[in-house]
Symmetry: C2
Subunit: 429 residues, 2 copies
């Protein structure tokens, strides 16, 4: 049977890894795809860089968009990244030319996914993106195909390896965020400009994609509530341990009768929850379906091998002629339940205060909580220090985000409360 | 678009669950499948039994084979079970009639999978079996599609919920096997005739399927080495804890240069291994690919909901027109690496002896191990009891199955060794 001819745009770690994987496992891939998958063209800027791959006989384009028009290319693989610019133009051009697209670009899918899904449906070709979320873990396939018979009720994931590495190392060493971030940057686990990862944007892109698939919705990145990990302290990590929790940056989405909630923030995860045990650069996703029950997936979320594994799996699906609607159902069949704002969140909270150790502080704080209808599950205070500040930890029962926010504003204003309270949502098991 | 019309053979828990799931989630399933999936015919013996499902307007056959010929049926769903007889005849007849088949029948696939795969390929239709292994966990899809770009190197799974429930309860209660088995039977977690589960046959059927997919081989149930859990004692479970292990019934398959090993047996799993934490009736699979690295999947391995979830996912794939070769590649492209006999196994071992507490016993035992070239990593002996037997636990370094078997034969023959040694393979992390 005729080979499937791929044109790869972007020859960074993942692009080079994809070329290499297609070459290394060519025979097995051809057997599974029913025909060979060959790279016939690539697009990248620097032609002189040694990428450790053999590009002999492969056409070279400096302009990525040329891949869409190249008659030697059946399928375009977009590994440039970024929600706008070259990547977006290339994907649009390829779909317009009736060519299927494989991409690892979560930002593009999260922000322009609805329009791109419509373009792919109009062209009748695949737009595949297994590599966009959780690297080598086939979570897109699991949601879009494996759990297709289910009403999914909940998605919870550790979706950013950099944040998970930093939080894990903070816990293991007892050291604080800035120090561990600097170390992660030196080791190459965090970018020179880490904002995209540590402020939760990357995880939010991935969560928006997962939530759309899970609930049969249009992708809506703008509706994701996002908080990063900059404000997590070694102190709170150690209190979490004491209370039976681990602090993880989670992507969370639930569908309730009122709508769909989507949020990315640090959360206290009970230690018996499978997500609590996911350490270092690993990614993991917990899915809950009405028929299948809970399903947990863990694996490597980034790196050349895992990401290339996902890219080539998509190519094999395309070579086999198997196409799934981009968002799991035809564009017209996508649901539009309202997104719930974070103010509507209902749950338990961890609150840590730094207070002057003097009589009456606790009475003031608990009085404010009572005024807001918030009851406490537990309280922790260690040691005494009459000349300086001491931490007090309060764990609330379930309450509303509005109530806790109101209470925190008043507590912050107490003279004996020395810094803004640390507030971390507790995720039920 | 025209509905996909399913004929369901077998209306036990899973069959009734499938009818119910197709009805309950009909709208979402139609959106994802691109067309409605409707049950037009069923086959079961007892027409009077109340199964809690609405069968109005659905044709009833007493003879399952009639579903293959029924012109109202586009796809046959075989949920009868058993490797021979009615189930096999129905699947063969459906494929011969050019109808795709969905089945949850692991015994049938493990034993007759090669011939059935050839029949499906000849007819050009799907034979789908996600529900045959690990219930609601999409492990077939993960191996056959998600990891299709990888050379898989290792499969390790907890594939039988009954055994895992029994071993978990033995550990939690400290009680012995016969007692916990009786309790599991009373609770409905174990069958009245439990042999199929506790002797490892069910897990071996599933492992044979996974190994075939992982390594691109013809399925070869006969080559699986099988040991069940009857001989596991509370004493060994408690020693395992002390040494940092959990005892799990594992299905294990590895591909080495010499061939493919397939084995089902109780194993000592290091506590830091993800499989060690899988308790109760859960199933889990650890897969290792050369590109993706380690991927871990956990979920419910049985029950009406999870199994129906997998059956309907297969129906949705068929409704979408997506067909994957039964064994991941065309029959002619399947590999035939030799199966390695258990005698070729190489690994560490846990050995527990019951000995008379008298001088010289340990010297005799360690002398025999030395004669067989086996070195020790550690030894445990608790307490003394000069009038009765005491347990001695030996943990070996890696050695061959042949060497350890030879040593055990000689150790068993020592006068001071009072019962046959308990020998449990240790699985590396």
């Amino acid at each position: 049977m005729k080979a499937l001819r791929a044109g790869i745009a972007g020859l960074g770690t993942v692009g080079a890894g994809t070329v290499k994987l297609l070459a290394d496992n060519a025979a097995a891939i051809a057997a599974r795809a029913g025909r060979p998958i060959v790279v016939t063209a690539v697009a990248a800027r620097d032609r002189t860089r040694d990428r450790g791959i053999d590009l002999a006989g492969i056409a070279w384009h400096e302009d990525a968009a040329a891949l869409a028009a190249d008659p030697r290319v059946d399928v375009v693989v977009e590994l440039i990244g970024g929600a706008e610019g070259t990547a977006k133009a290339l994907v649009e051009a390829a779909l317009a030319a009736g060519k299927p697209v494989v991409t690892a670009n979560k930002a593009l899918l999260a922000i322009h996914g609805t329009a791109l899904g419509e373009a792919a449906a109009a062209a009748g070709v695949a737009l595949a993106y297994e590599a966009a979320v959780a690297g080598g873990i086939p979570v897109i396939k699991t949601l879009r195909e494996g759990l297709a018979a289910n009403r999914v009720t909940r998605v919870a994931g550790i979706l950013n390896g950099t944040c998970n590495y930093i939080l894990t190392t903070m816990r293991e060493t007892g050291r604080d965020f800035p120090e561990i971030l600097a170390e992660a940057q030196a080791l190459g686990y965090a970018e020179a400009d880490p904002a995209f990862d540590i402020d939760g944007i990357d995880a939010a892109h991935k969560l928006a994609i997962l939530a759309a698939l899970a609930f049969g919705q249009k992708v809506d990145f703008g509706a994701v509530h996002i908080e990063g990990i900059r404000r997590i302290s070694a102190l709170d990590i150690s209190f979490a341990e004491e209370l039976g929790y681990r602090i993880k940056l989670l992507g969370l989405s639930r569908r309730t009768e009122a709508g769909v909630e989507m949020r990315v923030h640090p959360a206290m995860v009970p230690k018996q929850n499978l997500l609590a045990g996911v350490d270092g650069v690993y990614n993991a996703v917990l899915l809950e379906g009405d028929a299948a029950g809970k399903i947990f997936l863990q694996g490597r979320g980034a790196g050349a091998g895992p990401t290339a594994s996902a890219v080539v799996a998509d190519l094999i699906d395309i070579a086999r002629g198997n196409t799934i609607p981009v968002w799991g159902a035809a564009p017209g069949a996508l649901d539009a339940a309202p997104a719930l704002p974070i103010a509507r969140h209902f749950g338990a909270y961890f609150m840590r205060l730094m207070v002057l150790d003097r009589p009456g502080v606790l009475a003031d704080v608990t009085g404010i909580l009572r005024d807001h209808g918030i009851s406490l599950e537990s309280m922790l205070q260690h040691g005494r220090n009459q000349s300086a500040s001491v931490p007090i930890v309060l764990v609330t029962h379930e309450t509303t985000e509005a109530a806790i926010t109101g209470a925190v504003a008043r507590i912050s204003a107490l003279p004996a409360v020395l810094e803004p309270p640390a507030l971390i949502r507790i995720e039920p098991n």
